[in-house]
């Protein structure tokens, strides 16, 4: 009986794997209503993983204590490490290699793809948009708006503060694609004389101006796309900064007031230096998001009218031009652009938590 257990647990695991694989094929190829397939897929994915963990732990338990000590860590951290290596660590190296090969990944082409990535018109345009417009304007505006709201709301009635912050924070739940629908409607343009259904042009016309096709006006259309990002991200900045502000000891401000400092002086001399770490964290996080910006550009203009960005060039090269070499080189350029900010952000992170 005692010898039967190990065999049984291995057999059980093998059987479970077989069932999972068969049901996978059935779910993929079988004819059924989409909602049923979705429901079964959810059960298959979540349940299957739990089952596998349980059975694998059962198998590990059958070994001698010495082997168990070696196998248990693999059971616990193995899956995570394997996935991270497959999806993040190795791809970085493989993309670097792919960037030295041609469109189909067959012929070695040296640095040709990087010449494209650093000199082509669309990439130069992307550099301008990513680094000049998005990085600077989107980050500064989001941080400033978030900071202003956090500081001001701190001085109002608690219920008012709560409602106000909830509304500013709400866009965080909205997808960039959803936000693009919302804002494309705001920017909707009808020729002069026609009834404007976009709010922005309606306001312009109401004040006696000419309606504008906002998304076509180079290079200012970049700023109109950035407005969407600011609308989405200010709430994030506000929440983090607001928490930091509430952590500044009240006595500091009280002492300043007694010494006769104005509210503006208090902000610059006391509040801001005390929350600087949080400001940097928020700014670097938003910077990372702006460097990788894709969804908004893809759904608002598709990168046309002078609004191209690096991530959209990467996507276009990969799925419209099918040029894997160029797409890989552009991805590496993106990684290089992100790296310094990432490094700084992770260090900041580490200071707070000592994780590394």
């Amino acid at each position: 009986m005692r010898q039967a257990r190990p065999i049984l647990s291995v057999l059980l695991t093998a059987a479970a794997l077989l069932v999972l694989m068969q049901s996978y094929i059935y779910l993929r190829d079988g004819q059924m209503a989409q909602w049923l397939r979705a429901l079964l897929a959810i059960i298959w994915g979540v349940g299957g993983l739990m089952l596998l963990f349980t059975l694998a732990s059962n198998v590990v338990e059958q070994f001698s204590p010495r082997w168990k000590r070696r196998l248990v860590p693999i059971l616990f951290v193995g899956p995570a490490v394997a996935i991270v290596i497959w999806y993040l660590a190795l791809p970085a190296v493989r993309t670097l290699v792919a960037s030295l090969y041609d469109a189909k990944g067959e012929q070695f082409v040296g640095l040709a793809n990087y010449i494209y990535a650093f000199t082509s018109r669309e990439m130069l345009l992307s550099f301008r948009n990513n680094f000049l417009f998005w990085l600077i304007f989107a980050t500064l505006s989001s941080v400033i708006v978030g900071l202003v709201i956090a500081v001001m709301a701190d001085r109002t009635n608690p219920l008012f503060e709560k409602i106000c912050k909830a509304i500013i924070f709400m866009p965080m739940a909205i997808s960039m694609v959803g936000a693009s629908v919302i804002w494309r409607f705001m920017y909707e343009y009808r020729p002069a004389g026609a009834s404007q259904i976009g709010l922005l042009n309606a306001i312009v016309v109401a004040f006696g101006g000419e309606p504008q096709a906002w998304l076509m006006q180079q290079p200012w259309n970049n700023l109109f796309l950035i407005v969407i990002m600011v609308w989405l991200q200010s709430g994030y900045a506000m929440v983090i900064l607001s928490a930091a502000i509430k952590g500044v000891p009240v006595e500091l401000n009280e002492a300043g007031r007694i010494d006769g400092a104005s509210e503006v002086q208090l902000f610059f001399k006391i509040t801001l230096p005390n929350i600087w770490g949080a400001v940097v964290t928020v700014a670097t996080t938003i910077m990372l998001a702006t460097l990788k910006i894709f969804d908004i550009v893809q759904s608002m203009t598709g990168g046309n009218f002078g609004t191209q960005v690096i991530a959209n060039v990467q996507y276009t090269q990969m799925f419209r031009q099918f040029n894997y070499g160029r797409a890989a080189a552009v991805a590496i350029v993106l990684l290089l652009a992100v790296l310094p900010v990432m490094y700084y952000n992770l260090r900041q992170f580490n200071k707070r938590t000592e994780a590394f």
């Binding site: 963990f53 500013i168 990788k292």
Partner: protein, 293 residues
């Protein structure tokens, strides 16, 4: 002076709040207006001229593919069928939330409470990759997927979201699990419990707040993401998620604002509910890890 200052603060905040809310309000109002009114007058007309405005559910019926008896649908709009996209999005987002949490919780426990050689290095490797742009992974992973037949499947998308979400998940859960008091499980060990039973019986329930934090975060992320499904999910309409379909609708029916607004609002409904329902957890997650995106 002091009073004027306070008034100014309230005025600015009210202005900003209204400005922030207006675009979404415009979307919501338009989604309930009939198409001829949406294309003829601004949505604010519903407030300024309430007697001349009508409201309807037809837009929602059209985009969901559930027409009312006798409802006439414009040509080409019969098969928008966003209901399928809602189902697909759920099928992507739910496992893409649960799977990384489970795998990350196991790993976090392993890193925090099991001694083994190489622990520190593997931990640094796992969370140090946080923030690597997705774009770097797309081509190699897509090639692997095509080779092993994972391209266009739910499983492929779940695994991709798992891979991209794991560093943050391990990091958040490690911070929590490593601070649990040691004596809780020491007595369990003495009673002969294995790591696995301790993990399932003690750690998972005790970590519920941290799990909920990451779950809200990851669910909103996977529900709202466009790039991952765009790359790894098949491009046929029947299996696309909401963000993909919205992008497609913007392309083909860019002037059908009555439909676009209804479709967009459908895509916002669940994330907004999750967001307001679990905001406490979401904020906690945001505070702890602001590197992803």
């Amino acid at each position: 002076m002091k009073k004027a200052g306070t008034m100014l603060v309230y005025a600015i905040l009210i202005f900003l709040t209204v400005a922030w809310l207006t675009p979404t309000l415009g979307l919501l109002v338009s989604s309930f207006r009939p198409d001829n009114e949406v294309s003829a007058t601004g949505w604010w007309t519903a407030a300024t001229h309430p007697t001349e405005s009508t409201f309807t559910l037809d837009n929602y019926r059209t985009v969901l593919g559930l027409p009312a008896p006798g409802q006439v649908i414009q040509r080409g709009r019969e098969n928008i069928n966003l209901l399928t996209a809602v189902v697909n999005t759920l099928a992507v987002a739910v496992p893409a939330t649960v799977i990384p949490i489970l795998i990350a919780a196991f790993a976090a426990y392993g890193f925090a409470w099991i001694r083994f050689p190489g622990r520190r290095w593997l931990f640094i490797l796992t969370i140090g990759l946080m923030g690597v742009p997705l774009q770097v992974s797309l081509i190699p992973v897509l090639r692997d997927y095509i080779k092993i037949g994972l391209n266009g499947t739910y499983l492929g998308v779940w695994l991709a979201h798992t891979g991209f979400g794991l560093p943050l998940a391990v990091y958040l859960l490690y911070n929590y699990i490593s601070t649990l008091p040691k004596d809780i499980f020491e007595s369990a060990f003495i009673d002969g419990a294995t790591h696995f039973t301790i993990f399932v019986r003690l750690i998972l329930p005790l970590s519920a707040p941290a799990l909920a934090s990451f779950a809200t975060f990851q669910f909103l992320w996977t529900w709202n993401d466009l790039l991952v499904p765009l790359v790894f999910l098949s491009s046929n309409q029947g299996s696309q998620v909401l963000t993909q379909r919205l992008l497609g609708l913007m392309g083909s029916f860019g002037q059908d604002w009555h439909l676009l607004t209804a479709g967009a609002f459908i895509s916002l409904l669940l994330p907004l509910a999750v967001f307001f329902g679990l905001q406490r957890y979401f904020v906690r997650g945001l505070m702890a890890g602001s590197v992803k995106q």
